[in-house]
């Protein structure tokens, strides 16, 4: 094992939750998020021998795999299917509401709004709030750091509008 490459299990334990949250913010159901998360780590596990820490951080590397897997998911299901899932999405139906704290339910509704944003806006918000810097977000999305900031702020305002609309 290379000295600059941590054991894969450490990456797995550290990033599983964050990667899942990033994916969950974009797809309609926990089941889809689990499937895509599983695919991400399966792929990462098999490719880890080729990972070179001097070229990228483990975080950026994993999020790139996650982003590609999420995009593949949407391509595979098509926009029509995504819309159907979004429309049919019942945020409260998956688990026992009594077991959920009120703020948790509120957050889930918020992520539901994120999932309905246009693709690049959704991506910018999900990546940024997964703990990535604007530089990392820009690299993953194929744009500059400044462009990533602008995209993010536009997305944030769009999200605020959506939340307002939902509240009215």
């Amino acid at each position: 094992m290379l000295a600059d490459r941590p054991p894969f299990e450490d990456l797995y334990r550290e990033y599983l939750g964050r990667i899942y949250a990033y994916i969950r913010a974009q797809v309609g159901t926990s089941a889809d998020a689990e499937d895509i998360t599983a695919q991400v780590f399966m792929n990462a596990y098999q490719a880890y021998a080729r990972f070179e820490a001097r070229n990228t951080t483990p975080s950026a590397w994993l999020f790139r795999i996650a982003r590609n897997a999420t995009l593949d998911h949407f391509r595979a299901h098509g926009r029509r299917e995504r819309l159907r899932r979004t429309i049919e999405h019942q945020p409260m139906a998956e688990e026992d509401p009594a077991a959920e704290a009120e703020d948790r339910i509120q957050y889930r509704a918020l992520l539901h709004q994120v999932a309905q944003l246009p693709e690049r806006q959704r991506d910018a918000i999900s990546l940024r709030h997964s703990g990535l810097s604007f530089d990392e977000v820009g690299r993953l999305m194929g744009c500059s750091e400044d462009a990533a900031k602008m995209l993010y702020h536009r997305a944030l305002k769009a999200l605020r509008e959506a939340v307002h609309k939902e509240g009215n």
């Binding site: 054991p7 299990e9 599983l16 949250a21 998360t37 021998a49 709030h129 939340v163």
Partner: protein
Amino acid sequence: MSEPEEELELQALQRQLDDAMETTRPRPDFEDELWLRMQTSRPAPRRLGDAFGAFFRGVREVPAVPMAAVAAVLVVVVGVGILAYSGLGRGGGGATSSSLSAGADRNYAAGTFGRVPTPVFNGTPKDTQAPQAVADASSGEYFGPAQLIWTGKLELTITAAPVFRYHEPSTNTADQFATALGAVLRERPAGFLGSYSASDYTLKIRGTVQSPQASPAFFIFASLSMPAIEAAGAGPKDIADIFLAQHSLSPQWSYTVAVDSNGDPVKVLYEREFDVPGSGPAYLIDGGGKHYGIEVDLSNNRPVLVSGLLPVNPDVAPYKIVSAADAIQSALASGGQGVSATPSPAVKLTQAELVYVLVPAGDHSFYEPAFLFSGSFQLNGKTVVKRVLVPAIDPTLRTP
């Protein structure tokens, strides 16, 4: 809304997004389940390639591996009959082996289990695909139809081989195994007999899986508090030995050790063998051809995942097996019929090996002998390997 108010609102929204992302996590069992899938559920063609690759790498790294284990041609030189089984389980293990389990020895009987179920193997020819579509590039395995020709040498003079039968382990069996390890029952998740907690690991125990076939097994998922095993000069196998001994998990059956240290984690595999009187050890393989038994995965000398056969205390009975000629004929007949526009490739099978496979059958399942034939050939300029498994038990003693 004024600009400062709008800014405050956006900041509040950002905090909510941070909190939402930090509190959105998968269900509690997902982490362990996915780790298990990553370790054990790779695609069959890849598993097969890894298994053979790991095995041969292990052979290079472990000089003590008996040469019989890598013999290209199965040569059984002593003709024995059913009566010769009186010696079953009385030694005969190699340098790295123990003999058959005491339970198997105790339960050995001259009777039979009646007609036993016929094994179903993975990797059967995919008739409707062109040859290049069924060759796995990473493993070099070929799964498509082929015109098979036998050019090897199979001298088989034994006429019978042991069949092992075990009772499906219950939750009680699993609980006893866990208790012996000092682990406490946590829950009984779907697909497992139990999930247990110990101070520095989670233990899960699973019964027989019908499809794809998998033996009753235990899985130890180390928590991050699992300490590394420090032993001066110890290699991966030594560390795995220490861990297994510390937890009373050392194999009670014959085995050969293979070490795959090409990646992280390093994998130490104790490959189970069945002693076949008059023939020698025969590996236990899964539906894809992979040797298995107990696997200890080490990362920086720290066990991260230990998985292996759950002890099942099998009964054993001798069964008549097919002749070498019949085995070869069955292998050649299993090539499949190519129906695509591309003709099936001609493949020379050059090697054969007696192996054991799991045959799930409800309350009682079996480990039965089979023949693993193989041969390599060129496909689109690349060398690929064709493997064929055929049942060894006489057809009259098997259910269709």
